[in-house]
Every structure is written in C-alpha cells, then in structure tokens.
C-alpha cells in the first residue's frame, strides 16, 4: 500500500496548481466563457506546450504514459481554478476513447489534439436517455460505401469549438440494447450537422448536436462495428472520475476559504469561527472533502487496473458521495458566507455551481446509487 505521488506526478500537480494560482484569475476565466468558442485559445495553447494535454494518455497515441492518477491530479488543479477550458471533452472523452479503440486514424487524431491543433467532442447523451449511455436512438445506416447518420445528441461538451465529433450511433438492435453501438468520426463541418450551443451554469460551453442525413465514408467507423459499448463505458467512467477530481479541487477551495472567511467575519462582537455550532459544520465540511478525496483516489486506482465490476463500484461510490455530501458541502459554504455567498461577483457561488455540474455530468447521485446497488446485487 502506498498513497505517495511519484516525483513526476508531484511535478505535474505542482505546475498545474501554480498555473491556476498565478495565471487563471476570474478575468481570465470570464474571457474564456465569453469567447465565441467557449474557451481561451491562449490558455489551451499553454496546456499543449506544457504537455498537460498528453499527460494522462498512453505513449501509443503520443501521450506521456500517465493514467488515471495523472488525470486526477490534473482535474483537481483545474477544478480548484474553475478552469472552463475543455479538458474533459478533448483529453478524457475524445482522446481517451480514441486511445482505447486504437488504429491509425485514431492515433493521428490524438496527436493533433495533444498538440492543441484539433478540438474534439464526444456526442453520446440523448434527451430520452437520461444517464443511460446504452439508450441510443441515433442511427447510422449503411448505404453503399457510406454511413448515413440521423439523430439528436444532447449535452455535447465542447460542441461549439469541436473540429471533430466522435458520435455514438446505433448500428443494430433496439434503442436500449447493450450490443449494436458503434463509434463514428464525423468532421463538424459535414453537411447535415448542426450545433445548438448553450452554456452550462458552471461556465462550460456545450450544446445539442443534430444529425440530419449526415453522410460519412466507411473509414469513419472507429473500432469494431456494434461493439463500442465497453470502450464507451470505460471512457464515461473515466470522465465521471475526472469530474469527481475537479469537485475535490473545488471543495478544497471552499473548505479553505469558508474557514478563512469565518475567522475574519465579525458578528455579535466576535469572529463567526468562534461559534461552536459553526465550528462543527466546518469540521463536517473538512471530513466530507477527505472522504471525497479517498473515494476519488480509490476509483482512479480501480480505473488503472481493476476488474470491470470493481471499477464500476468504485466509480459509482465516488459519484454517490459527490451528489449527496459533496453537494451539501457546497450549499453549506454559501449558507455560512451569508448574502455575499449568493453573489455572482464572489467566487463561492461559482464553486458551488462547479460542484453541482460535476455531480450531474456522467451520471448523477440517483443514477449511480442504482448502478452501485445493481453491481452489489450481481456479485
């Protein structure tokens, strides 16, 4: 047993945290949110130059050979800085899935993403599916040498800026079958693709994407026909833990800064932090943070090498805690700040929103509670 970071991991974490502390202030964040592409290209280029886009990716696709622990360390730093740049969409969902599937075109695409030249997005969710990734009604039908895609995807992170979409399509079976899912690489400018963009409440750029008789070549098929479900499930689990790690970073900031605020805020002639009832609540926040950290580490380790069932359990447990205790922590941070915590100009509310968004993306509390129970019952 060893929870220590390697020297390389420590350097990665330190450099990311330093970048966030020194160079990612609220104005920089706002510039990213307001940018027509939903993020700042300057920041993204810096990520590419410093090697962060390849850090958690295997060497086979041009990455630096890191894994889920590197991903966790990266996301903690990005969560702590409320970074809106589309790291999960590109690195985890895009390149992560490409790396898992492999092949020449996938590797080329990964290399371009790692260099910061190509923006990726994964179109997997659908309005009727809630959080069930196998509930896919978007269909790809073979017509001669081509595939023709019809359907609608929701919550496509980085939809605005994506040059290339990886689209989960049904190629056989009924709408909710596990088998019969395939992945297609679709250039965003292909005729029939239309993006309906929106911002999530945490500032992330996203959108729905409609596919109306979108015609792509036979080489657009990524991986094996009808057998995409396991790779997709792995990528979504990885992204789900990336969001847990981002929440850990955000919770860390909230715990530190709520303590600091209550030490300085004087009411009734003494600092709020001297009231025992508030001290206990701060202690509970701190313990929730440490539990969240523990569950995220355990899930990241399960992603690195665990059996599929253990991976699912570890991921779902972390998600359940994030959606219950983690959310309560964020709500309590606002409550203890009082009115100032309700304002847009003060960071607390933005951290609260980031934790809420992290708790929804890739399966919310209720979804993972059901999944964890089902996995336990199947044991």
């Amino acid at each position: 047993m060893n929870f220590d970071l390697s020297e390389e991991q420590r350097l990665l974490s330190d450099s990311l945290r330093r970048f966030v502390a020194d160079r990612y202030d609220p104005d920089q964040r706002r510039r990213g949110v307001r940018d027509p592409r939903g993020f700042s290209q300057d920041v993204w280029s810096t990520f590419a130059e410093l090697g962060w886009l390849g850090a958690p990716l295997p060497e086979s696709v041009g990455g630096y050979g890191g894994g889920a622990i590197e991903l966790m360390l990266t996301m903690e730093a990005l969560g702590r800085g409320l970074v809106v740049e589309p790291f999960v969409a590109n690195v985890v969902l895009g390149a992560g899935l490409l790396a898992h599937v492999g092949g020449k075109s996938a590797e080329d695409l990964c290399a371009r993403m790692i260099a910061g030249e190509t923006q990726l997005a994964l179109a997997f969710a659908e309005p009727q599916a809630r959080f069930d990734i196998e509930d896919v009604a978007t269909r790809a039908v073979r017509e001669g040498d081509a595939w023709v895609i019809d359907g609608r995807k929701s919550m496509v992170l980085n939809a605005r800026a994506a040059d290339v979409l990886i689209v989960v399509c049904r190629t056989s079976g009924a709408d909710r079958d596990q088998n019969g899912l395939s992945l297609f690489i679709v250039e965003a400018r292909t005729a029939g693709v239309s993006v309906r963009p929106y911002h999530n409440h945490d500032g992330a750029s996203s959108g729905d994407v409609h596919f109306a008789r979108v015609r792509v070549g036979a080489d657009a098929l990524l991986g094996r026909l009808d057998e995409a479900a396991p790779a997709l499930a792995e990528a979504i689990d990885r992204a789900a833990i990336a969001e847990c790690a981002a929440a850990v970073g955000a919770m860390e900031w909230l715990v530190e800064n709520t303590i600091a605020y209550l030490k300085t805020r004087v009411q009734f002639g003494k600092p709020l932090a001297s009231f025992q009832v508030l001290q206990h609540r701060l202690v509970d926040m701190f313990v929730t943070l440490e539990e969240m950290r523990s569950l995220t580490i355990a899930a990241a380790l399960a992603l690195q090498g665990g059996a599929e069932t253990e991976r699912g359990k570890a991921v779902s447990a972390a998600r359940v805690h994030l959606g219950s205790a983690g959310r309560a922590l964020a709500e309590d941070a606002i409550q203890m700040h009082g009115g100032i915590g309700m304002t847009d100009e003060f960071p607390v509310g933005h951290y609260y929103k980031r934790i809420l968004a992290a708790g929804t993306l890739f399966g919310d509390h209720d979804h993972h509670l059901g999944r964890l129970g089902a996995l336990m019952a199947a044991d």
């Binding site: 809630r130 929701s154 919550m155 945490d202 009411q267 009082g338 847009d344 100009e345 929103k353 929804t360």
Partner: protein
C-alpha cells in the same frame, strides 16, 4: 379535533381560484410557472388587478383598503395565489412598510404614503442590512445626524432587493452612538431621488440582479420622515419582522412546486418509462411530500392558535426554518429530474444592464423543454431563502433562547 376547512372556507377558496383563473394574464402565469422571477412590470400589472378587486392589501385595516379576512382566509388567499402561479405581491411594500406606517406612522405620513401604495404608484425597498451588519443587525453603522429640521444620513445599505425600482426606502439608522446597540437606532423614510443616494447593482448566482448596495452620502431627510420615536426604531423594525410570519412557511409555494415536479416527472423519461413510473423517483417524491405535510399541518395549527386569539409565540420560527429548506430541496429535485438538461443556464431574462457572463447571445436554449431553464434559475435563487429575512441560524437562535429557554 378536525383539520377540514369549513364550508365558508371552501367557498372562499373557490372564489379566489376563480378570480385568478379569470384575471391572471397568461403570459405572467407562464413566466411564474416556468420558474422565472416576476420583475417590476409583472408585479405592477398584478398589483393593479388585485387593487381593482380590493385584494391588494387584504390584511390591512378596512379603512386603508383591507379585506377584513380572518387569518384562515388570508392563508387560503396566499395559497391559492401560489398554486395559481400568480407573481408574489411586493412584500416589502405591502407586507412590511404598509403595516408599520399604519401602526406607527403619523396621520400625515399615512396620508402621504399609503394611497400611493394602493394606487400602485410607489414602491419601497428595505434599508436594514449593511456590509458589516448581517445577522447581527443591531451593529448597523449608517448614521443620521440631526441638523435643524433634517437628518443628514451617511452610510451604506446592502442586499436591498428591488432597490433599482423602488421610489422610497425605509431605513434603519444610528441616531445615538453612545447608547447600547439596539437603543440608538431610528426608522427613517427616504425618497430614493434625494441627492446623495447612489446605487450599485449586485447580481446573484442565478444571473439576475437580485440585490443592490445603496450608498448614502450626506443625504438630507426631513425630520417629519422619522417614524415613531427617535432612538426607538428597533421596536419598529421588530414589529415589521413579526408581521405576516405565517407566510414565511412558503407552504403554498412548496405545494405548487411539488405539483410542478410531478408534472415534469410525467414527461421526463428513463429506460423508456417516465420518471413518475420509477420506484426510486416515487420515493423521492414521497419524502418531499412527507415534509410538506408536516409543514402544512403545523401551519394550520399555528393558524388555529391565532384564530382562537393567542399571540404568535417565537416557535413560529420553525415555519421559516423548515419551509425555506423544503422549497430549496423541491427545486433541486426538479432540476435533478431534468437530467443533463438541468445544466444549461438561461441568462436571457437576466437584466441587461450588466450581464455578468456576457457574450452568450448565441446560446440556443430552445432545445430544452420549456420547464427546464427556469427551474435552474429559481433553484439558484432559492439558496437565499435560508439566508434572507432571518437566516436559519438566526431562527434556531431565536427558538433556542426564547422557546427552549436555553
């Protein structure tokens, strides 16, 4: 013992519901139903409709336009307005300032200000909290120095909701710095057009301008705008907070929002079935319904106690404590029911003067179901319910000291 409404109560409920069905403009109803706050225009239109029916200020005395309803009828009215998706009446003006003037104001003050409320011409905002005086309100520092026939007011007030459209502010000021904190405070009426007043918008986490900070720089206020006695403003402030405390339960609002959640759950799907068909979701609904029923029956017990002539005791704080959190949890459950569509954020209805995110003009929220975007906005707004108007911590302090005598 029984909890049934009387035949008269039921008839009254039907009368109110019929009035709302008949008179509430459809566009306002839709905005309120979909979770958006009523702005000045919606509030003004609704006030005019209520005023025409004689129902704008039902709890005021009859000579000032009151409806002569008993406490149960007032409760039924509030509840039906909430259930019918009416915008809330402007509580600061109708529920706070009006009753204070009726109780403490001079005849001249009543004649000057009350008709303007009844005619829907003037709006008030509340100058209580200050940057350094929140839950500890008595530590407020805005000072009013007497100078001949006027007070010269200097300081700053914060969290002044609707300050941007208020014509007047009622304001707690310190008139005696040597007295104990609660004993040197006075209650002043201030025209917002007076020289020296400036206002800074404060946008909230839902993207809307929910609050303001008001700065008072050598603001000259005539002495006749003092309400009650100099240095006895604290008792005025306290009486204002005591008024209509039964409404602080938000029980009607919770009923409405839980009903709305059920409607949404009949549409939203998982695994090919609607949410309302899923056992896990029904249990969530049932847990909220249990809390709502506890609140509802507790409200009725307080109403019965009041109707039998007893004064409201400090334990009424439990209604605000539980009621505010219940609305928050229902609204969060509503956003949760939307799945991924709980995430997109609608800033299109945020006030345009300083859009805090900005540059989001190409956002396309038409892809969402009509109930989605506003649900998120009102969920964020509701975080203030456990902070404003006496935080949950203050409510617990009140009950610990005054009810449990700890």
């Amino acid at each position: 013992m029984d909890m049934q409404e009387t035949a008269e109560d039921r008839a009254f409920r039907a009368e109110v519901a019929g009035f709302i069905a008949d008179k509430l403009p459809a566009d306002i109803r839709t905005r309120v139903r979909d979770g958006y706050d009523a702005g000045r225009d919606d509030t003004r239109r609704w006030h005019e409709i209520l005023a025409a029916r004689g129902w704008l200020v039902p709890s005021w005395p009859a000579e000032w336009g009151g409806a002569g309803w008993n406490v149960m009828q007032r409760h039924i009215f509030e509840e039906e307005c909430a259930l019918g998706y009416c915008p809330p009446v402007h509580g600061i003006t109708i529920g706070m300032l009006g009753p204070v003037l009726i109780r403490y104001g001079t005849e001249a003050q009543k004649q000057r200000y009350l008709p303007a409320i009844l005619n829907v011409r003037e709006w008030w905002c509340q100058g209580y909290s200050e940057p350094g005086a929140g839950s500890d309100l008595a530590s407020l520092k805005t000072e009013a120095r007497r100078d001949g026939d006027a007070y010269i007011v200097n300081g700053s007030k914060i969290w002044t909701s609707t300050g941007e459209w208020a014509t007047h502010m009622f304001c707690l000021v310190r008139t005696d710095k040597s007295a104990k904190p609660q004993e040197g405070i006075s209650f002043l009426l201030i025209d917002m057009k007076t020289a020296g007043i400036s206002i800074r918008p404060i946008h909230a986490i839902n993207g809307h301008r929910l609050f303001n900070q008001v700065f008072l720089d050598n603001v000259v206020v005539p002495v006749e705008n003092l309400v009650h006695k100099e240095n006895d403003g604290w008792s005025v402030a306290k009486s204002l907070l005591e008024h209509e405390r039964l409404n602080l339960s938000r029980v009607g609002e919770s009923k409405k929002r839980l009903h709305r959640l059920k409607e949404i759950a009949r549409v939203e799907r998982e695994g090919g079935r609607t949410l309302i068909e899923q056992d896990w979701f029904r249990r969530k609904l049932a847990a909220l319904e249990t809390r709502l029923r506890a609140l509802d029956a507790t409200v009725l017990r307080f109403i019965a106690r009041t109707q039998s002539g007893a004064a409201l005791d400090p334990s009424v704080s439990m209604l605000k404590l539980r009621g505010s959190q219940l609305v928050q949890d229902i609204l969060q459950a509503t956003v949760d029911a939307l799945g991924y569509y709980g995430l997109p954020f609608d800033l299109s209805t945020a006030l345009s003067d300083s859009d805090p995110l900005g540059g989001l003009a190409d956002d396309d929220l038409d892809v969402l179901p009509d109930y989605a975007a506003g649900a998120s906005v009102s969920r964020f707004r509701s975080r203030a319910f456990t902070i404003a108007g006496g935080s949950s911590e203050v409510q617990r302090n009140v009950m610990a000291k005054q009810v449990l005598k700890l």
